[in-house]
Symmetry: C2
Subunit: 213 residues, 2 copies
C-alpha cells in the first residue's frame, strides 16, 4: 500500500497547506543562514517543530525543499522591477525602485541571503530562470531606461549596469549586514541606518543620472 506523498496528490488538503508553509518558513531561516550544504534537515525540522521524517513526507528531498523555496522567493523578489513603469517619469520611477529594493533588503534579509547563497554557488537550481524570465524582464526594463536616455530625460548610460548597481547597493545591506554593522558600530540603530542609506543612494543615483534632486 503505497503512501501517497503530499506533493503527488491532486488537491492539497488544509493540513498540507499549513505544514508546507510552516516548513518553508523554517527552511528559509536555516538555508539563508547556513547555505544549502550547511543546512541540515534535522535543523530545519527542529525549527519547524516537527520530526525529520515528517518533513520528508512533504518534501521528498532536501533539494526539493530548497527548490520550492527559492522559486517562490525569486518570484516575489522581482516584484519591484516588474513595478517599474515606462509611463511614469524617470525620476520618481528610479527613486521608488531604489527605495523598494532597499525596503526589501531591510524587511526580507533572509530572502536576499538565500538568493545570494544560491547565486554564489553557481545557481545550479535557477540557471534557467536567470537566463529565461529574469533576462527577459531585465531586457524589457533596460529598453525603457534606454528610451529615457535617448529622450534626454536622464543621462546616457548603460541600463544593464545601472540595474546591476541598484541591485548590488541595496542588497548589500542584507547580504553583508554583519560587515555593515561591524563598520558602523552600534551608534546608529536600524531605522537611522536605513534612512542614511536611502538618502545616500538617492543622491548617488540621481546625481549619477544627472537628475536634479
Amino acid at each position: 500500500m503505497p503512501i501517497p506523498r503530499a506533493a503527488q496528490t491532486q488537491r492539497r488538503t488544509r493540513i498540507q497547506e499549513e505544514k508546507e508553509e510552516q516548513i518553508l518558513e523554517a527552511a528559509l531561516d536555516v538555508f539563508s543562514q547556513h547555505g544549502f550544504k550547511g543546512a541540515t534537515i534535522d535543523h530545519i525540522a527542529e525549527v519547524a517543530g516537527m520530526s525529520k521524517p515528517n518533513l520528508l513526507y512533504y518534501f521528498r528531498t532536501k533539494e526539493a525543499m530548497h527548490r520550492a523555496l527559492i522559486e517562490r522567493v525569486l518570484d516575489t523578489w522581482l516584484d519591484p522591477l516588474r513595478a517599474f513603469n515606462a509611463e511614469g517619469n524617470p525620476e520618481s520611477e528610479i527613486r521608488s525602485y531604489i527605495r523598494r529594493k532597499l525596503e526589501m533588503a531591510r524587511d526580507y534579509p533572509r530572502e536576499s541571503r538565500l538568493f545570494a547563497n544560491e547565486v554564489l554557488r553557481g545557481a545550479p537550481l535557477i540557471e534557467d530562470e536567470l537566463k529565461g524570465p529574469l533576462k527577459e524582464l531585465v531586457d524589457e526594463k533596460a529598453e525603457v531606461i534606454r528610451a529615457w536616455a535617448k529622450a534626454g530625460k536622464i543621462a546616457k548610460c548603460d541600463p544593464y549596469h545601472l540595474i546591476f548597481s541598484i541591485w548590488s547597493t541595496t542588497q548589500h545591506y542584507a547580504d553583508f549586514d554583519v560587515q555593515v554593522r561591524a563598520v558602523l558600530g552600534q551608534e546608529k540603530d536600524g531605522d537611522g541606518r536605513f534612512e542614511d542609506a536611502a538618502r545616500f543612494l538617492e543622491q548617488l543615483f540621481m546625481g549619477g543620472l544627472s537628475i536634479r534632486g
Copy 2:
C-alpha cells in the same frame, strides 16, 4: 615520538612553504565555490594533488585551513582602500579606487567569493577583524572623504555609505557573476563587459559626487 606538525615548527622548510602554498591555492578554489560547509577535505586534497592525511599534516583541521586562507585574503583585499590617499585630489583618488576594486573583482573572483561566503554566514572567523582593523581603516578613510566634502571638493554625502556602495557595485561582478552573465548573455566577452562596467561606475560615482567627468 610526537610528530612535529609543520605549523608548530620554528623555522619553515622549503617543502613546508611549497606545500602550504599548494594547499591554500586548492582550498581557495574549493571554499570559494562551495562555501565552508560545502567544501570537503577530500575534494581539496584531490585538487591539491595530495592525500587527505597529508593535507592534515600541514593544517590540522578544516577550520585552520579556512582561517589561514581568509586571513591572507582579507589582508590583500583591503590594499586598494589603504592606497586611498588623502593628499591626492578627490576625483583621481575615487576614480582609481573604483577601478582597482573592479580589477580585483575581475582578476581575483575566488577571493571575492570566499569573502562573500564568509560574511554571508555571519563572519564567525573574522568578526574581530571586521570590528577592529577593518573598522579603523574605514573610519580613517571616511574622515578623508568627509574633509573633501567639507572643503567643497565633492558633494556632501555619507562617506560610509559611499564606501559601501563602491564595495558592493564592484564586488557584484565577482560574487554574482553567474547572474550577470545570464542577463547579459554571450554577446559581450570578459574585457568588453569589464570596460562597460568601469565606464558606467565612473559616470555614476563622478556624477553622484558632483564631480565633472
